[in-house]
């Protein structure tokens, strides 16, 4: 039992520092200074620096995934076991986008931390992301039920592209803002979500991709 106070002080300080300065240049000494605890406390409570980072990331990513599944389940129940593809995609990309974007000055520490995590990709986090496949399979299942005529391969590609657009937009939001000179409003999260869902839906429902027929545009 005991205080537990030290433990959460470390978590909070670490999240804040990582969010602000990235994983690259935040040391354990920075963290314990910010948290006003002793250096050894990190290893005592978490075992190692990597496990501390992992715990931070897991906590946030579990929250996102839980919300995703909640929305997915609700949608499928409402549709009698089969949800519209837009709604499925919405459940897939909405939570992470909502968790990371939005007006910069009102972004939570957690949000900024997750943005960092998606930009920098440090080993303990990569390891966790690799275990996310089971979670994605649930969406594959729902998408198959929603689009029974679509080939499995097309489904996988559609899922891949949906995640691509969401994650890339999070990770490169700054660049898109700069490129568009502020014309793309990344603070309007629901608009971003709608755009991603709309394109991903098209990708999944448009007339069959010209299969493997070697595109006449091919290279050269």
């Amino acid at each position: 039992m005991a205080s537990d106070h030290t433990r959460s002080a470390i978590l909070a300080a670490a999240e804040r520092l990582y969010a602000d300065r990235g994983f690259g240049d935040v040391t354990l000494r920075d963290i314990v200074a910010e948290a006003n605890v002793n250096l050894a406390a990190v290893n005592y409570h978490f075992g190692s620096k990597d496990e501390l980072i992992a715990e931070l990331f897991v906590t946030r990513s579990i929250a996102t995934n839980r919300e995703r599944l909640r929305q997915l389940k609700a949608a499928e129940e409402q549709g009698g076991g089969r949800a519209p593809i837009e709604v499925i995609l919405h459940a897939l990309v909405g939570p992470p986008l909502r968790g990371c974007l939005g007006p910069e000055n009102q972004r939570s520490t957690a949000a900024r931390f997750m943005i960092r995590a998606s930009i920098e990709s440090v080993p303990p986090i990569r390891r966790i992301k690799n275990r996310e496949i089971d979670h994605l399979r649930k969406f594959v299942g729902a998408m198959r039920r929603s689009l029974p005529d679509r080939s499995h391969v097309d489904i996988y590609w559609g899922l891949n592209f949906a995640l691509a657009m969401a994650h890339h937009t999070i990770r490169e939001s700054e660049r898109l803002t700069k490129l568009s000179e502020g014309q793309c409003d990344l603070d309007d999260v629901e608009d971003v979500v709608a755009r991603v869902v709309s394109v991903a839906t098209m990708a999944l429902t448009a007339g069959k991709v010209e299969a493997k027929a070697p595109s006449r545009l091919a290279a050269r």
Copy 2:
């Protein structure tokens, strides 16, 4: 003048090691051992470790961008100053995809290096990527000429999504293969390119996105 041999031996060794083991756990000592040169040679020839990494990345990324622009220019000239959007997108995403994907066992060191660079994102490389905006503006220009009726914002989003799909597919190719249990053939690069171009084209040409009309799917 002089030999120049040491310099290129370092470049080659570094590229190989970074490609194989990532930036995280390759030290200068690993590199000089692999290259059979003295430790001090790196600082002598490149100034610092970061500048070595930067030179590696710049070399490869200039090659990609040059090829992109070559294709873009050719397409616009052929079309009298206005190229079809598919061809523009093809010039945008084709070179990086071709440079990174393809049968794993015949991937060049350069290709594997670029994959690493897109996965790990180390400071010197991030700095270079941030200067890529001018390059992208050339594509924005071509896209505007190709789709004069499309709003600038839609163009930016289309470009963003095209890059998103290409880069994410490179970066997460392993995961997609695993998720699809090998059914998505990432070795067939031209098929991948065609898929990305096809979806990006739809994103840019489909009936106007329901603007900012708050989607009825909006979360809650």
